[in-house]
């Protein structure tokens, strides 16, 4: 299969995204009525797409080990449940996490590049990434330099992503745009394009440290960017909304949006992830309700 030659567009051309139109389209997805086997399949898929995350200054070896156990044993009393897609931690915790999920098939994602602010030198960011990769990370979640982006230094942002991709080796690169700091949909589109052309394997909305984090309209803009990129280059890019998705119903709306924007090829955890911590237990609650007919209280579902 011959590699299609990709010509990089000029990032100084402003994208045209209509805010009212985007928000209307995004809200239309929430009108879909998801019932019965569609709901069940959606809930299972959601679980399998979660990147279970802990990114706190006070994370310890013990905390990470327990989270990893939860990742592989979401709710053992319900037979046949899938495990989550990945566990997401700081670089210093990668080795611990890697050992803890051995044999489960769960991936280890590490944040890097002076997460969450990205306000440091190129050398520090490269070293940060290299360390995480050496420790065994399967995926790297980097942050773009939002300051440089808002200064209009699009080539800088591009080069930085390309440099990080270079040292990722086998690890897949997720590029976090921090859409809450970019604010407008035009900027989100521009940042998405820069990231994809620079070598991202995934584009991701947020660090989870800033509000607003992921929203449906922002995700839609990014999915449409991925679609245009695919038609131009033939290359698939994954997408990860992170932060603010704690309810199953909302997760199912996201899956509707994904299915109707990119189609069935993207409907698996190779190409879509939820960056979420409390979502898993809400999904489990819904699954138990489908199975038994009643809702159980929070205490019946273990936290990590």
């Amino acid at each position: 299969m011959a590699e299609k030659k990709i010509s990089i567009p000029s990032f100084s051309l402003p994208p045209r995204i209509d805010q009212v139109g985007v928000e209307e389209r995004a809200s239309r997805f929430t009108k879909r009525s998801i019932k019965k086997e569609t709901k069940l399949n959606g809930l299972f898929l959601t679980l399998n797409m979660i990147d279970l995350t802990t990114l706190e200054g006070k994370d310890t070896v013990g905390k990470v080990r327990q989270l990893c156990y939860k990742a592989a044993h979401l709710h053992d009393t319900y037979p046949g449940l899938p495990h989550v897609a990945a566990v997401c931690v700081y670089p210093s915790m990668v080795a611990t996490a890697k050992k803890a999920v051995e044999g489960t098939g769960i991936k280890i994602a590490s944040v890097a590049t002076a997460f969450p602010s990205g306000q440091s030198s190129r050398n520090v960011k490269i070293a940060d990434t290299k360390f995480a990769v050496q420790q065994g990370a399967d995926e790297i979640d980097m942050v773009i330099s939002r300051g440089k982006f808002l200064e209009g230094e699009y080539n800088f942002v591009f080069d930085e992503i390309a440099a990080v991709k270079e040292v990722c080796g086998e690890a897949r690169l997720k590029v976090i745009l921090e859409t809450g700091e970019l604010v407008t949909y035009d900027k989100v589109r521009r940042a998405s394009d820069i990231a994809m052309y620079a070598g991202a394997d995934f584009i991701k909305t947020s660090t989870g440290k800033v509000t607003p984090a992921a929203t449906m309209p922002v995700t839609l803009v990014m999915l449409e960017a991925i679609r245009d990129f695919y038609y131009k280059t033939g290359k698939m890019i994954g997408m990860k909304p992170a932060g603010g998705i704690s309810k199953s119903k909302l997760a199912l709306h996201y899956l509707v949006m994904l299915n109707e924007t990119l189609g069935s090829d993207w409907m698996n955890n190779q190409w879509f992830r939820f960056g979420a911590s409390s979502l898993a237990n809400d999904v489990l609650m819904q699954l138990e309700k489908e199975r038994t007919g009643v809702y159980q209280g929070k205490d019946y579902f273990s936290i990590d």
């Binding site: 045209r16 139109g21 209307e24 009108k31 449409e224 189609g263």
Partner: protein
């Protein structure tokens, strides 16, 4: 890597159309096996002694039987309206009239689910649309005009508005309840009484409205609702004792009405057909524009007088827009209107479906290229897949004549002046859409397009405060807003 043979890239949307059934329950809808004529506050048997069926176009099952009013029945209704006008309504203070109109609005809201389900059963439109658009907007029209009833002295500076008398109102089958609201609300607010005839394929929500009007204790004869077909409508138009006619329907019938009332002194408003231009410029937000195209022609199965049925795409972005449009078509679900996930419901009647098929044949015969999505359509009932025609020129019949179905004719254009000329080059003039990110272009286009309603970066937006109506053969007079009061008063 999702590559098909021949290296053409495609996205797979077959599963996007398949959701587990999510039907709205029919139990909310209480439909009687037979309905009489609502005259003078009571349901009266027709003098004609005749009834006809109304069916569900999605299943072809009979829903009910409604009375067929003849000239004598029409006369009875007009007499009741005249009597109520002279004795009760004409002299009632605006504030009191407002209370009745407000009450009707509240009762529509309270029974919203029932109205939505019946509208979907009788007409074929998706429950999502009748639930989210038709019924709430109908209630809003009553709320809005209730507010005007006691403020008429402020509506027309330096003039005193006086009501006209009896209004004969004939409404179409595409938005049955909403059209009834558009007609009745301003008429009552301005102190007129009404004889209204719903379309013969969609009488049920108007009859439900009659039940509400009865329960709202509106003085008998103020609103009369009689069912029937073309002959009943003609009898209403030709009745000597009506002061005003309000008609929404086809241009052909509009012309008949116009001829019939010439020299009679009867006032009229006509809201007729359209063949709106929906214009996409190369600096448009393309993904949102495609959504606008889809809303413009597939909303309500394209049974919309202001539907964006002529698409003009600037040639430089044509390929991209077409690709996005085709992808979007693949995610439209055609099916049971009562299913909450259905995007495109049933075509309103066998006749209308035949008409649409006729135009599709014409389009193919004219050499236009037809494209339809891969959506499966039900084998029973009247259904049509969303359809695009490319390779269309201004001279094609499918670019000139109103099809009134989910069929879009697509042309390209090169310059602003060219598209303005072509958009205006039509006997119709009801609506238009303009898609561009550039503000100055919006103002340039909207001032030059000869259409009563011009939407910019959106389509099919309606509000009771916003006047709606056309130029040229799309009719005259406006409904909605302050402008909607003019046709019902003498100044």
């Amino acid at each position: 890597m999702a590559k098909a043979k021949n290296n053409t890239l495609t996205l797979k949307f077959d599963t996007a159309r398949v959701y587990a059934p999510a039907p709205e329950s029919k139990s909310a809808a209480k439909i009687l096996p037979q309905y009489d004529l609502f005259i003078n506050g009571k349901f009266e048997k027709p003098i004609s002694k005749k009834y006809f069926n109304t069916i569900n176009p999605a299943t072809e099952e009979k829903l009910s039987m409604v009375a067929d009013a003849n000239a004598a029945d029409v006369n009875k209704a007009v007499k009741a309206a005249r009597n109520a006008y002279d004795k009760t309504w004409k002299n009632m203070p605006g504030k009191e009239r407002a209370k009745y109109i407000y009450r009707i609005a509240r009762m529509i809201q309270e029974r919203a689910r029932e109205f939505a389900v019946i509208e979907t059963l009788d007409g074929g439109k998706p429950i999502r649309e009748s639930r989210d658009f038709d019924v709430p907007t109908a209630a809003n029209h009553f709320f809005y005009y209730a507010g005007w009833a006691d403020k008429l002295e402020y509506a027309f500076p330096n003039r005193t508005a006086q009501s006209l008398g009896v209004a004969a109102q004939i409404i179409p089958w595409n938005f049955p309840l909403l059209m009834a609201a558009w007609k009745i609300a301003p008429a009552l607010a301005t102190g007129n009484t009404v004889v209204l005839k719903p379309a013969e394929t969609t009488p049920l929500t108007a009859l439900k409205l009659a039940e509400i009007i009865q329960e709202a204790d509106l003085p008998p004869g103020v609103v009369n609702i009689i069912t029937g077909a073309g002959a009943t409508g003609a009898a209403m138009v030709n009745h000597a004792d009506i002061n005003k006619i309000a008609f929404t329907g086809s241009t052909a019938v509009g012309k008949i009405i116009q001829k019939a009332i010439a020299g009679t002194g009867k006032r009229a408003t006509l809201e007729l057909g359209g063949k709106a231009a929906n214009i996409i410029f190369d600096d448009a937000p393309l993904d949102q524009a495609v959504e606008g195209i889809v809303n413009g022609i597939f909303f309500n199965q394209g049974h919309v007088c202001c539907a964006g049925s002529r698409l003009y795409v600037q040639e430089s972005v044509y390929k991209e827009v077409l690709r996005k449009l085709k992808d979007r078509l693949e995610t439209l679900i055609v099916g049971d209107p009562l299913d909450k996930n259905t995007d495109i419901g049933a075509i309103n009647s066998k006749e209308q479906l035949a008409n649409i098929h006729k135009y599709i044949k014409i389009g193919v015969a004219e050499g236009a290229e037809m494209y339809q999505s891969n959506a499966a359509i039900p084998t029973k009932g009247f259904f049509c897949k969303p359809t695009l025609f490319t390779n269309v020129a201004q001279s094609n019949r499918i670019a000139q004549e109103e099809i009134f179905g989910p069929v879009l004719s697509i042309q390209t254009f090169r310059t602003d002046d060219e598209v303005i000329e072509k958009a205006n080059n039509t006997p119709f003039g009801l609506s238009a859409g303009v898609w561009t990110d550039k503000g100055s272009k919006i103002f340039n286009l909207t001032t030059k397009l000869r259409a009563g309603v011009v939407w910019a970066n959106t389509y099919n937006q309606f509000d009771p405060t916003s006047p709606f109506g056309g130029y040229k053969e799309s009719g005259y007079g406006r409904e909605g807003g302050l402008h909607g009061l003019y046709p019902y008063v003498e100044l």
